[in-house]
Amino acid sequence: MAHDTVHEHHYHDPANVTNPEHAEHHIVTPLQYGFVYIALLIGTLLTVLAADQNFGFMNPVIALAIACTKAVIVILFFMHVKYQSHLIKITVACGFFTFIVLVTMTLLDYISRAWGLW
């Protein structure tokens, strides 16, 4: 591809907008991936074992807690978010925040219906 004059800029970039946070090109090693993989498999095993015990109302809580932990390590390591810029981290958080808003504010209605089957 021709390296034409358009790209030979000589200006200083005081607002540093082209790479604001100098995000590192951190390369996650296969070893780190291996640890995460084992952790995910262990988590799955734990989930199944816990489901076979009777913890009453805590069963779904435990299952979801393990699932959330697994999701977090997939996001942080498999998806590299731990090593990405703040922008990416905030973006991921916004996604889950909006999902939580959908769930909790709709629940506001269902939980408080007198005639419902809650």
Partner: protein, 258 residues
């Protein structure tokens, strides 16, 4: 700046994180509306994450429907959920996690420019993905045989008269017919959520085939890793959805008679 790389290949100047103002070396895939490689790569990643946000909200609607109806019709959801096979579901979970592991290794291989390893890992990702879909097919087929697919042919008799085990004890509580009807909602959610998930996997496998072809040609082993990286994001996201679907659908209450 230091990069942890388990390889002996020297880093090219454009891979350092420091923004070298006067040393712009562009890869062939550089787009001219971007000033630097860095900008293009980060923009691509950011764009893919925004797309994944839309996926979170899309599946989110289904998850809410699940939350609602599980609470309204818990007594029906339990025996319905017990129709699903935990060994198959658990195996599928392990298979999908393995597929994700190989995808992550594929991204690493692209970053350290090992073409053959990249192709191998992408193929393994695909194989495990296909294995997942194969087991899903087996499960769906079983539902078809037992008339547990929602719609006109749905059969509630197994819930009204639960089968007895070898000792003659019922394996589930018997449900009155009106409650047994609600199992249809569980199966609808099961098919809708796993079906939507499977659709995303099929699309992903299609993309993987294309990526394997291009990786084989060497497109991704000379510094241009964005498509592998961004596809990896998509694939891991689909994996995360399943990590929630498995406990929510398969493990509602594994000891209903206690």
């Amino acid at each position: 700046m230091d990069n942890s790389i388990a390889t002996t290949e020297p880093l090219m100047p454009r891979e350092t994180a420091v923004h070298e103002e006067h040393e712009h070396v562009f890869i062939p895939q550089h787009r001219h509306h971007f000033e630097t490689e860095e900008q293009q790569r980060e923009a691509g990643s950011f764009g893919m994450w925004l797309f994944l946000l839309t996926e979170i909200m899309f599946f989110g609607g289904l998850f809410f429907a699940y939350l609602l109806y599980r609470n309204w019709y818990y007594d029906a959801f339990v025996p319905a959920s017990n129709q699903l096979s935990v060994p198959l579901g658990g195996a599928n979970t392990a298979i999908l996690i393995t597929s994700g592991f190989f995808m992550a290794l594929g991204v690493w291989a692209a970053e350290v420019r090992k073409r053959a390893l990249l192709v191998l890992f992408l193929i393994l990702t695909t194989v495990f993905g296909l294995a997942f879909l194969g087991i899903k097919y087996v499960e769906y087929h079983e539902k078809w045989e037992k008339h547990h697919i929602p719609g006109a042919s749905f059969d509630i008799s197994e819930f009204v008269n639960p089968p007895k085990d070898a000792a003659g004890k019922p394996t589930q509580h018997a449900l009155p017919p009106d409650v047994a009807e609600k199992t249809q909602i569980f199966f609808f959610l099961y098919f809708a959520m796993t079906g939507m998930h499977a659709l995303h996997m099929i699309i992903g496998i299609g993309l993987l085939v294309w990526l394997i072809a291009r990786a084989q040609r060497g497109d991704f082993s000379s510094g241009y890793v964005a498509p592998i990286e961004n596809f990896g994001l998509y694939w891991h996201f689909v994996d995360i959805v399943w990590l929630f679907l498995f406990p929510l659908l398969y493990l509602i209450n594994r000891h209903p008679l206690q």
